[in-house]
């Protein structure tokens, strides 16, 4: 039943990179991943060592991005920040995806009253503006990077659950599910072998489209002081820390923000292209 034959894969990759935007995005993502992995080798200074240079020293040959209030090298801190952005984005989306998809499949497959009540609860949860829901969860769990990531992940669950439920409902009514059931396939087998593989494309699309937002969202919580705490070199937290003296030293804010923007933009460019290729409704258009 495995339809992902080896022939299909090169087709997907070549189409994915058929657009210059997606290529640029992929390159930036690879660079960010490289920075994250090789940070100890690439960073010229210790990210947490004070007094590497004069406080709030501007950009120079020794310190490309200048220095922050504690005399820390901003370039090194931005490089280490790459470790948080994509990792946080991926883990939050993974939380939303796994729990949301699970919830959606279970209630749709169970059907009847469970489905009606479940759908109602999901719709109600979607009435929380997602940043408000995330802030509420941080308020309960306490401030911190992991809690912020958890909050962003949880606040995405209803969205994934709703999409998965709708997709499962339409799949479960199809002939191949009925056929599987009539030859005696159990619930587990139907869900794992017949529903899940067919849900995968749409889930991948939604997850990729969400990834950029998730990176941005987690950084936003850090900027608000609800996520990563000083001295963590997380980009959002760096912008928050620089707020007081930004007018005297704009470089403390420009570079972490630029890094964040480029990362999110890159992820969105690739996600957009991927959704264009994988989304059956859009497939004919491009």
């Amino acid at each position: 039943m495995n339809t992902a034959s080896p022939v299909r894969r090169p087709w997907l990759i070549s189409r994915l990179f058929g657009a210059p935007g997606a290529v640029a995005g992929a390159i930036v993502i690879v660079v960010i991943l490289g920075l994250a992995v090789l940070a100890p080798y690439l960073a010229p200074y210790d990210w947490n060592a004070n007094s590497q240079c004069r406080r709030l020293a501007p950009m120079s040959v020794e310190h490309w991005f200048g220095c922050d209030l504690f005399g820390r090298d901003i370039f090194s801190r931005v490089i280490y920040g790459a470790r948080f952005s994509l990792a946080m984005g991926l883990s939050t989306v993974a939380i939303s995806l796994v729990f949301g998809a699970l919830l959606g499949i279970v209630i749709a497959y169970a059907g009847g009253r469970i489905d009606r009540i479940g759908a109602r609860v999901i719709d109600a949860m979607l009435c929380f503006p997602s940043i408000i829901l995330a802030i509420l969860i941080v308020a309960v769990l306490g401030v911190g990077l992991l809690n912020a990531a958890l909050a962003v992940g949880i606040s995405g669950i209803p969205r994934f659950a709703r999409i998965t439920r709708a997709a499962t409902l339409s799949l479960a009514a199809r002939d191949f599910v009925e056929a599987a059931r009539s030859v005696g396939a159990g619930h587990r087998r139907i869900v794992l072998r017949h529903l899940l593989p067919n849900l995968a494309p749409i889930l991948i699309v939604i997850a990729t489209l969400d990834l950029g937002g998730a990176v941005l969202f987690t950084a936003t919580l850090s900027f608000l002081g609800l996520g990563a705490q000083p001295p963590t070199p997380e980009w959002g937290a760096m912008l928050n820390a620089g707020r007081e003296y930004v007018r005297y030293a704009p470089w403390t804010m420009i570079f972490p923000g630029l890094a964040l923007f480029l990362t999110v933009m890159a992820v969105n460019l690739v996600g957009d292209r991927l959704s264009l290729i994988l989304d059956p409704r859009q497939r004919d258009r491009s």
Partner: protein, 304 residues
């Protein structure tokens, strides 16, 4: 009329579920609520008991739940731990500032987003489309706190065109742009798709066949019909506006509901957190119902 009443009654279970979630979340906060309320000041045992009775936390959980729902429905969320003022009064005092910002941001977002979307939708799949949509994607990818800080740096600190702080009209310009950019990306994409959809319709072909100039076809026939789908998504924009307001108010150190919420979380001022969350969610639900109803009146096809 009956349909409208039905919609309004349909709101009740939704609000009940969201408020139950908020109530449950607040019970999960670790620590004694009285100690949280006192925020570190020492207290005698008798005063402790009195405070406990006043907060109502000595009662069974089910009684607390029912009284929470009853109070929430009346808009009563108790007193702030910090300022000792009724939460509702605090929110009411901040609300006008958030409303100003939301309107300003929405105006900027609509203007920018609709322009990009219409231009891209009228000439789809060419370089103009790519340019507009890449710009829209950039708008979606811009950290709004970063763009806010950049705007302050350039237009307030360097050029001195507008004040950095304040609540006057000129202090509203930069926050509105910052919030508007945040909205424009999504709106541009919606508008583009709506325009493309409409441009393929028969009446557009008819208008063209009549020999109408292109600007009239787009301006009079396409735009009017394309405006409905993005406007129905106005309700969703509200969620983005609230999210954007939280960030924008923090960046520009403006008073407002978002700032109130963030400070309340940092100061563990739970009645304020609870009040803001319950009220924004209720506002979101009601706005969406109102739009639903309005849509049914404007476009008779939606009935039923």
């Amino acid at each position: 009329m009956r349909a409208i009443l039905g919609r309004l009654i349909g709101v009740i279970p939704t609000l009940l579920i969201t408020w139950t979630f908020v109530f449950g979340a607040m019970r999960l906060v670790p620590g004694d609520p009285v100690l949280l309320m006192l925020q570190g000041t020492p207290i005698s045992d008798e005063a402790m008991d009195a405070a406990r009775a006043k907060l109502g936390v000595d009662r069974p959980i089910i009684v607390q739940y029912v009284s929470f729902l009853a109070n929430a429905a009346r808009g009563d969320f108790g007193d702030s731990f910090r300022s000792r003022q009724p939460v509702t009064r605090l929110i009411a005092a901040e609300f006008p500032f958030t409303l100003q910002l939301a309107l300003g941001g929405f105006a900027v977002g609509l203007l920018l987003g609709a322009t990009l979307g219409v231009v891209a939708g009228v000439w789809p799949n060419g370089w103009i489309d790519t340019l507009c949509m890449t710009t829209a994607l950039a708008g979606l990818s811009l950290p709004s706190f970063w763009i806010g800080m950049l705007l302050i740096q350039v237009f307030a600190t360097w050029l001195g065109w507008v004040p950095v702080l304040g609540t006057g009209f000129d202090a509203l310009i930069l926050p509105s742009i910052s919030l508007g950019l945040f909205l424009a990306g999504g709106l541009a994409r919606l508008t583009r798709n709506a325009i493309i959809e409409v441009m393929g319709q028969d009446y557009i072909r008819t208008a063209r066949a009549k020999g109408l100039p292109a600007w009239r076809v787009v301006g009079k026939h396409a735009l009017r019909n394309a405006v409905i789908p993005p406007l129905t998504l106005l309700g969703m924009q509200f969620a983005l506006l609230i999210g954007g307001a939280v960030v924008t108010e923090t960046v520009f150190a403006r008073p407002g509901i978002g700032r109130l919420l963030v400070l309340a979380v940092l100061e563990k001022d739970f009645p304020v957190v609870q009040g803001v969350v319950v009220l924004t969610t209720a506002a979101y639900v009601l706005i969406n119902v109102a739009i639903d109803i309005a849509y049914g009146i404007i476009d008779p096809r939606v009935q039923g």
